[in-house]
């Protein structure tokens, strides 16, 4: 799905989102009011400039539009991998983006994420996975590493990795695996505008991904281990 198709489906009442240099910035009209939209297109690898531009947009929304919901649309192969970006401290730029999103959350902005293409590594962490809820559309591709590359790096035979992946969601790329792990809350079906509206109307809560992972059988220990270390009673909100 292209960004243009996605935006039409999300905002049938219209939107002002521009795609420039594979960055998506603007807003869309929903029955709940304007939604600020930011994101990436065409698998963009997010470098220092892009992370800073996305953060600028978030800070601007925080300044000028109190409590306006933010929707992050993600199609990104990860962070830009270059010596130049490492010299500049790309991790710091991505951390700044993530912190800007957290500031928006703390100030009452709803944060929703929708993976409509690829999601991996640094940009998944600093943008997509920062949402109160992370959703995806059919065909979204979430990954850390494909199995042949993983076999080379880990020195584990490919057949073994493939065999384990038949039952475990942990190794192989794929949307279903990320749903089982609790990383993706749900897969949105058309009409996407209706799914977006439902999500906008839900209350934001604490990070529930480890609970989802447990319910869905993908991560049986994460919630329990965190709770054992946290101590006390009740949720971690």
């Amino acid at each position: 799905m292209t960004a243009a198709e996605l935006l039409l489906s999300l905002f049938p009442a219209g939107h002002s989102v521009r795609e420039e240099g594979s960055l998506l910035l603007g807003s869309g009209a929903s029955p709940e009011g304007e939604v600020a939209v930011l994101g990436t297109a065409q698998g963009l690898e997010v470098g220092a400039e892009e992370a800073l531009a996305l953060a600028a947009f978030v800070l601007d929304v925080v300044r000028r539009h109190p409590a306006r919901p933010l929707l992050a649309l993600l199609d990104s192969r990860g962070q830009r991998m270059s010596l130049r970006d490492e010299i500049l401290g790309l991790n710091g730029y991505l951390a700044h983006l993530a912190t800007a999103l957290e500031l928006a959350r703390q100030r009452g902005h709803r944060l929703l994420s929708l993976v409509y293409g690829e999601a991996s590594s640094g940009s998944a962490l600093a943008l997509g996975f920062m949402g109160d809820e992370v959703h995806a559309v059919e065909g979204a591709r979430l990954w850390v590493m494909n199995l042949p590359a993983m076999a080379r790096v880990t020195k584990i035979p490919l057949e073994r990795l493939a065999e384990v992946s038949r039952t475990s969601p942990v190794l192989a790329p794929g949307l279903d695996n990320y749903v089982r792990l609790g990383a993706v809350e749900s897969v949105w079906q058309p009409p996407l505008a209706a799914a977006l509206l439902q999500a906008l109307r839900r209350e934001a809560g604490p990070d529930r991904r480890s609970e989802r992972g447990e319910e869905r059988g993908g991560r049986l220990l994460a919630r329990r281990v965190a709770e054992a270390v946290r101590g006390g009673r009740g949720g971690g909100g």
């Binding site: 220092a48 400039e49 800073l52 953060a55 800070l59 300044r63 962070q79 991998m81 270059s82 010596l83 130049r84 490492e86 010299i87 500049l88 401290g89 790309l90 991790n91 710091g92 730029y93 991505l94 951390a95 700044h96 912190t99 800007a100 957290e102 500031l103 703390q106 590594s121 640094g122 962490l125 600093a126 996975f129 979430l142 990954w143 850390v144 993983m150 880990t154 584990i156 073994r160 384990v164 969601p169 942990v170 190794l171 192989a172 990383a183 990070d207 991904r209 480890s210 993908g218 991560r219 220990l221 994460a222 281990v225 965190a226 054992a228 270390v229 946290r230 101590g231 006390g232 971690g236």
Partner: protein, 303 residues
């Protein structure tokens, strides 16, 4: 500085995760949470016939630093490169959530990690994301979080982002911090992009000195446990980085200036020269105290 040669130095880099905690915190004060006796191991490594560790490569617990209560986590790089898997990540998350609840004086994260543990790839990525969210939630609850980077495995991948979400970062000159580490960069982009066996280049790019000069690290330390202890206590004392618009706008301007000033640099030494360091070629050779003097006027940002 002045007591070098009088007091014996204990290398932070060479110490194990547990030894680092013991050296950092007040003597005998550390109490581990969910320690090895609980035998909580990764459920994913066994499926691949890989050995597990009873702490899954990270030690978490509570202790005292100069008499004040702190929570601390220490990653063991010698177990799977400090890679974050499901259990490892959940221990970090649980510790940070405990901090938000208990409000200790602060949290110390002794990071020594390549990032996501590839053998638990997807679960590791989600776990790193949860750690990031938990760091920010602890800060939002006004509990300062300080990252210490001085281990042999550096701090890379998503954990390189997590480090910079903290209120402050202290590094030794041997510490390395980034997102795409040298091995991954060489494997992905080729040896022309970066030769991971060129140690001088790797340290110039990712090392503590460059990070300090950029303002990505707040303290540049010698490879000495006592130096880390002193810096950790001091960084917890200086006020936390507020999670507010004013602070983020300040950071934003600084990152923008960095791009404008150094965006064209093809080597970290060009950044040093452009920043006004008089003899940039000499920086890698300087001991920490001399280095700090040499870059005092050239440093950008940081606290």
């Amino acid at each position: 500085m002045s007591d070098r040669g009088i007091r014996a130095r204990h290398s932070y880099r060479e110490a194990t995760a547990r030894r680092r905690l013991a050296g950092l915190l007040d003597e005998g004060s550390f109490r581990e949470l969910l320690g090895p006796e609980h035998r909580v191991t990764s459920p994913h490594l066994a499926a691949l016939d890989l050995p597990a560790a009873f702490d899954d490569g990270v030690v978490v617990g509570a202790g005292l630093l100069l008499g004040e209560p702190v929570l601390a986590a220490s990653q063991e790089g010698s177990f799977m490169g400090g890679g974050v898997g499901e259990v490892h990540g959940a221990k970090l998350v649980g510790l940070l959530e405990r901090a938000a609840r208990e409000r200790p004086r602060g949290v110390l994260l002794l990071l020594d990690t390549g990032g996501v543990r590839l053998q638990e790839a997807n679960a590791g990525l989600v776990a790193v994301s949860e750690v990031m969210r938990a760091v920010l939630a602890a800060r939002a609850a006004r509990v300062p979080v300080v990252a210490l980077v001085g281990g042999g495995f550096g701090c890379f991948g998503g954990m390189g982002i997590a480090a910079r979400l903290c209120d402050a970062v202290a590094m030794s000159e041997e510490g390395r911090l980034g997102i795409t580490g040298p091995d991954v960069l060489e494997t992905t982009k080729g040896v022309e992009e970066l030769d991971a066996s060129d140690r001088a280049l790797v340290w110039r790019t990712y090392g503590g000195k460059h990070r300090y000069l950029l303002g990505e690290a707040d303290r540049l330390l010698e490879d000495d446990l006592e130096a880390f202890r002193t810096a950790a206590a001091e960084l917890l004392r200086v006020s936390a980085r507020p999670l507010d618009l004013e602070e983020l706008e300040r950071e934003h301007r600084q990152l923008g200036r960095r791009l404008a000033e150094f965006g064209g640099a093809a080597d970290a030494s060009e950044v040093w020269r452009a920043a006004g360091v008089e003899r940039p070629e000499a920086l890698p050779l300087l001991e920490a105290p001399e280095f700090l003097r040499a870059v005092a006027g050239a440093r950008r940002g940081g606290r």
